[in-house]
């Protein structure tokens, strides 16, 4: 059983993974303590003729200890998690210079509209690709996530990004990729019979390569539908 994660490739992936490993250690210790105690008691206190159980109704002190220790531990986990959550999803979390890209989820495809050379969504040099999301590294990107029909979910495991796409809502999701490469995008919310096959390819390019590609595509103006 492998509890390690393949490292993520965005700036906040390491923060998420650090929290994961912290919780893994804490719950791992709790697991071992409880299960070992359980097995120990079952062996040590198995019924034998002539023995009698120890008659007690409990211990207030024990109750206090095993109430307050878990409480302190979980509150600590909460506080640490809160900081990371605020950084990723907080009110002012989206970097102002983030590059916008529109991802429209539908049964069962991802239609990605790029801002084109001018970097503005909704202008004439925009172009749309099917099932292909290209992003630059070293620069924050903000996805404008929409859904045409039912709820889908924008899940890029390597980015540690997941956000439900809800019809009627335009949700902003930001990330900054560190490592160029190709990564899978999967739909993570049951959306119908084609849900299992709603995959797109995410390609992270070095910034100058990305800019070249955008210019090329803008000129070709490839429409997918």
């Amino acid at each position: 059983m492998d509890w390690t994660l393949t490292p993520g490739v965005t700036t906040y992936a390491a923060d998420i993974d650090r929290l994961y490993y912290l919780i893994l250690v804490i719950t791992g210790i709790a697991f071992v303590v409880v299960e070992v105690a359980l097995i120990w008691f079952l062996i040590q206190y198995r019924g034998r003729p002539g023995r009698r159980a120890h008659y007690t109704h409990g211990s207030i002190r024990a109750e206090i200890v095993w109430t307050s220790v878990p409480a302190v531990v979980v509150v600590m986990i909460g506080v640490l998690s809160g900081g990371v959550w605020n950084h990723i999803r907080g009110r002012d979390s989206i970097p102002p210079d983030a590059l916008p890209v529109a991802v429209a989820a539908k049964q069962f495809e991802w239609n990605v509209t790029y801002a084109g050379v001018d970097g503005q969504l909704g202008s004439d040099d925009d172009f749309t690709l099917r099932n292909e999301l290209r992003v630059p590294t070293e620069r924050p990107v903000v996805v404008h996530l929409t859904a045409e029909d039912v709820i889908h979910s924008f899940f890029v495991p390597d980015f540690r990004v997941k956000q439900d796409a809800v019809p009627g809502m335009n949700i902003l999701v930001w990330f900054q990729v560190i490592e160029p490469g190709e990564y899978p995008l999967a739909c993570a919310e049951l959306c119908g019979l084609g849900h299992y096959r709603m995959e797109a390819r995410v390609v992270a390019l070095q910034p100058d390569e990305y800019d070249r590609w955008v210019a090329e595509q803008s000129n070709q103006n490839v429409a997918s539908r």
Partner: protein, 255 residues
């Protein structure tokens, strides 16, 4: 799926320009019982569909993320929304809109119409089918296709065929012009079927030609439908026997 318990009626032949629909209705007595095929004639209505103006460019399909289909094409595939050759328009569905004798009823043939999915496109794109006649939907691509029919008068369906070789049969119970089909996995895929209560329909070929056989003598209104350019109507007087010509002209304004 309703099977009409009447002897089979056959739609047959390929006329010039393709294997689109239309044809003589022969009655075949399958169970030795009564036939209930409606009135037929000897005449042939042959026609042309012209396109007057500059043909719009068909959009290119981005199949780059669907290699199983993309590799079936030489260059980037285009979506054949407007099939225009030398001023002639294909994939126009022509059918008898009115004029058949009162009470005429025609039994659907037992041979199904095959709707194939190949190269992530529907083949045929436009076709006719009779009420109660089986549409046999086939997947010839080794990947998931989803067939969604979105009619207004009939019951729709939304089904899948995840593997090549799968076939599914469906029928329509009510006349409807036209029932669209779409695939949600491949958003560009479109097909259209005209569901009629009679066998007098045809789809124009690449050369714009079509033929409707076996109409009884009389006066009829024919309608021609195209997915982009709308509909056109014309009246035609069909003789007892022999041939009569009909023409439709479409132009590049949106439907």
């Amino acid at each position: 799926m309703r099977r009409v318990l009447v002897p089979a009626v056959f739609l047959l032949f390929a006329c010039a320009g393709g294997d689109q629909g239309g044809g003589a209705a022969e009655s075949e007595d399958a169970a030795g019982g009564m036939t209930s095929t409606g009135p037929m004639g000897q005449a042939t209505v042959s026609g042309m569909v012209r396109f007057d103006g500059a043909a719009p460019a068909n959009p290119t399909i981005d199949m780059s993320e669907e290699p199983t289909c993309a590799e079936k094409y030489e260059g980037p595939p285009t979506d054949p929304q407007a099939v225009v050759n030398n001023g002639m328009l294909g994939n126009v569905f022509v059918y008898v809109k009115s004029g058949l004798p009162d009470g005429a009823s025609y039994s659907p043939p037992s041979t199904p119409v095959v709707l194939d999915q190949e190269g992530c496109l529907y083949h045929p794109r436009v076709f006719g089918v009779m009420v109660g006649q089986t549409v046999e939907i086939r997947n010839s691509d080794a990947l998931l296709h989803n067939i969604k029919a979105v009619p207004t008068a009939n019951r729709g369906f939304n089904i899948s065929q995840p593997q090549a070789g799968m076939t599914t049969n469906r029928t329509f119970n009510t006349a409807e012009i036209m029932v669209p089909f779409e695939c949600n996995v491949h958003g560009w895929m479109r097909a259209y079927t005209g569901v009629t209560t009679h066998p007098f329909y045809a789809t124009s070929g690449e050369d714009g030609a079509f033929t409707i056989q076996g109409l009884p003598a009389g006066e009829y209104v024919l309608e021609a439908w195209h997915e982009l350019f709308g509909t056109r109507e014309t009246t035609v007087t069909v003789p007892e026997s022999g041939s009569v010509s009909v023409e439709f002209t479409f132009s590049p304004s949106a439907s």
